[in-house]
């Protein structure tokens, strides 16, 4: 690897990070950057094609849906919910999963046995069904979607971090720290944790992408945010109905979703390389 890519300046990081930054900024400043009101319906403007096709109207860059709502504006506002869910759910899952994984991997013995069994049982549930079940129980709404994703996906962190912490705990420097007289918790936090941080960061980014998908799936089946606020999943669900008349309503949210999820996973990989002193 040359110096530039070792410093993390790889095109992968730039492309992924660039897309995420663009999408994030657009979502944060949605009221300022969205060309139209995402909820404004105008049946005179229904199913306008994107700007490069005949019949496009200026100001409706990606066309409109069957109710005449501007697609670009809806995608931008939908990004708000996608990012809130991505960050909140992934961080919650990460905190719970990494903590339990670290404890199971470092302490071993009973702690490990109990935590590992819980993870096994947890993973026996099909995740999407589990999510639908949880949202049905918790009720729809932003916070229950976030909670549902965190409840389902902490096992992903737990398994990986447990395995890594276990490997680290067998290293001589952990033994050396014990000889020197450090406490168990101190060793776990000071010696083991820094060595699993690269994996935590990569998983966190990956999990954000997964959270975006799960949220889209939930809103696709109408179980996410029950208000009229546009979400990527609900736009896709609507676009599916009019695919033969207005393909763009389905295609653009799909592209947005795929790019975002892909970017999260690529960004995570690149960050991992960056955080790891040996790979760096």
């Amino acid at each position: 690897m040359d110096r530039a890519s070792r410093r993390g300046l790889s095109p992968r990081l730039w492309l992924a990070g660039g897309w995420l930054l663009l999408a994030l900024l657009a979502a944060i400043f949605a009221p300022l950057v969205a060309p139209q009101d995402p909820l404004a319906q105008d049946l005179m403007l229904e199913r306008l094609p994107p700007f490069w096709l005949d019949g496009a109207e200026p100001g409706y860059w990606l066309g409109t849906d069957s109710l005449g709502r501007d697609l670009l504006s809806r995608l931008i506002f939908g990004g708000r919910i996608a990012f809130i869910v991505a960050f909140a759910a992934a961080i919650a899952a990460c905190l719970v999963g990494s903590t339990l994984g670290l404890i199971a991997g470092y302490f071993g013995g009973w702690a490990d046995r109990i935590i590992s069994r819980i993870v096994d049982i947890w993973m026996a549930f099909p995740p999407v069904l589990f999510a639908i079940l949880l949202v049905a129980v918790l009720g729809t709404g932003l916070s229950s979607v976030i909670l549902a994703i965190a409840i389902i996906d902490w096992t992903r962190f737990c398994r990986v971090i447990r395995a890594e912490a276990m490997g680290q705990s067998r290293m001589d420097y952990v033994e050396n720290a014990r000889i020197a007289g450090y406490g168990r918790i101190g060793i776990m936090l000071r010696e083991v944790l820094p060595n699993v941080v690269p994996s935590i960061v990569a998983l966190l980014s990956l999990e954000m992408g997964i959270a975006v998908i799960v949220e889209a799936i939930l809103s696709f089946v109408n179980l996410s945010i029950s208000t009229d606020d546009p979400t990527w999943g609900s736009i896709i669900a609507e676009g599916r109905l009019s695919i033969h008349q207005a393909w763009w309503v389905l295609v653009f949210p799909l592209i947005t979703l795929i790019l975002t999820v892909l970017s999260f996973s690529q960004f995570g990989e690149a960050l991992k390389t960056r955080f790891d002193p040996v790979l760096r």
């Binding site: 033994e175 000889i179 020197a180 000071r190 820094p194 002193p277 040996v278």
Partner: protein
């Protein structure tokens, strides 16, 4: 004057009841180097770990005393024992590649222990570490202290670990095959460094090795170990001049000689091993009777 380390009658078993240490007794006087020599699996490292309180959880000590400067380690509360071991001992590990935390810079890693465990000021710890790095002949301490472990060679890392071991002025250092993972040319330098620092600081060392050549160079006393049992112990000079136990003699005969590089390697004599096995079996039987 009490011994720096005194192990009496130490036995340890695996969960299946097999003894891994068989009534081991040995002592290390202050400022003395005792070599612990034997084949792999003889329990040399196990003794070192027992002293330092880091035995694998599957190994259980069933009998015997370990005294560190007269303090009975078995009688101390776990916390007090940790503190005592942490303050008075140190380890020079076998593999310098895994003995340093890869995600932390050398400097903080070395000073941390002095500051957090022994309560030194940061400045004092830094001065001390630099002094030790100088003693292990690291000429560019600034660069080394700022480096991550993977940026240093194996020999450099072992120097750093030696410096770290001596930094807190421990009374006893357990050196667990400290040259085994190194290049042959580096081995010699490292051995010389350990010997020099040991003399300078007057630290007692329990030197675990399988290499009789190393034993001859560095130690004053030797314990020869086989299957977790001390089969012979003597002054190093006396042992090499006149080994008493047949196993010791066989072990010496099996050491390759540089004077005759084309001679084939000899394994330890079968008859001797058979004799040892019988000796150990009868010892185990005698030991089991009172221990149920």
């Amino acid at each position: 004057m009490s011994a720096c380390l005194d192990i009496a009658n130490l036995s340890a078993v695996l969960p299946n009841g097999q003894r891994v240490l068989r009534s081991v007794s040995l002592s290390v006087q202050p400022g003395e180097v005792r070599a612990l020599v034997g084949e792999s699996g003889a329990g040399k490292t196990m003794i070192g770990k027992a002293v330092l309180g880091v035995l694998p959880s599957s190994v259980r000590i069933v009998e015997g005393d370990m005294r560190l400067e007269g303090e009975d380690l078995g009688r101390l509360q776990p916390k007090a024992r940790r503190t005592l071991i942490g303050a008075r001992t140190a380890l020079i590990p076998q593999d310098p590649l895994t003995a340093l935390n890869p995600s932390r810079r050398i400097g903080p890693q070395m000073t941390d222990r002095l500051v957090r465990i022994l309560g030194w000021s940061g400045e004092k710890a830094d001065t001390r570490i630099r002094q030790l790095l100088d003693e292990v002949q690291i000429r560019d301490p600034d660069r080394v202290l700022k480096s991550y472990p993977h940026e240093l060679s194996g020999g450099m890392r072992q120097r750093v670990l030696i410096a770290a071991a001596f930094a807190a002025e421990p009374r006893l250092i357990v050196a667990d095959e400290p040259t085994t993972a190194l290049d042959v040319t580096v081995q010699k330098q490292i051995l010389r460094l350990i010997a020099a620092l040991q003399r300078e600081h007057g630290t007692a060392i329990l030197f675990v090795t399988h290499d009789l050549g190393v034993v001859a160079k560095i130690s004053q006393k030797v314990s020869v170990l086989y299957a977790g049992k001390v089969v012979e112990e003597a002054d190093t000079a006396a042992l090499f001049a006149a080994p008493q136990h047949p196993y010791t003699r066989a072990l010496m005969a099996a050491t390759p000689r540089y004077t005759d590089p084309f001679a084939s390697l000899k394994p330890v004599d079968e008859a001797v091993l058979a004799g040892l096995a019988a000796e150990i079996a009868s010892a185990d039987q005698a030991w089991r009777r009172p221990h149920g």
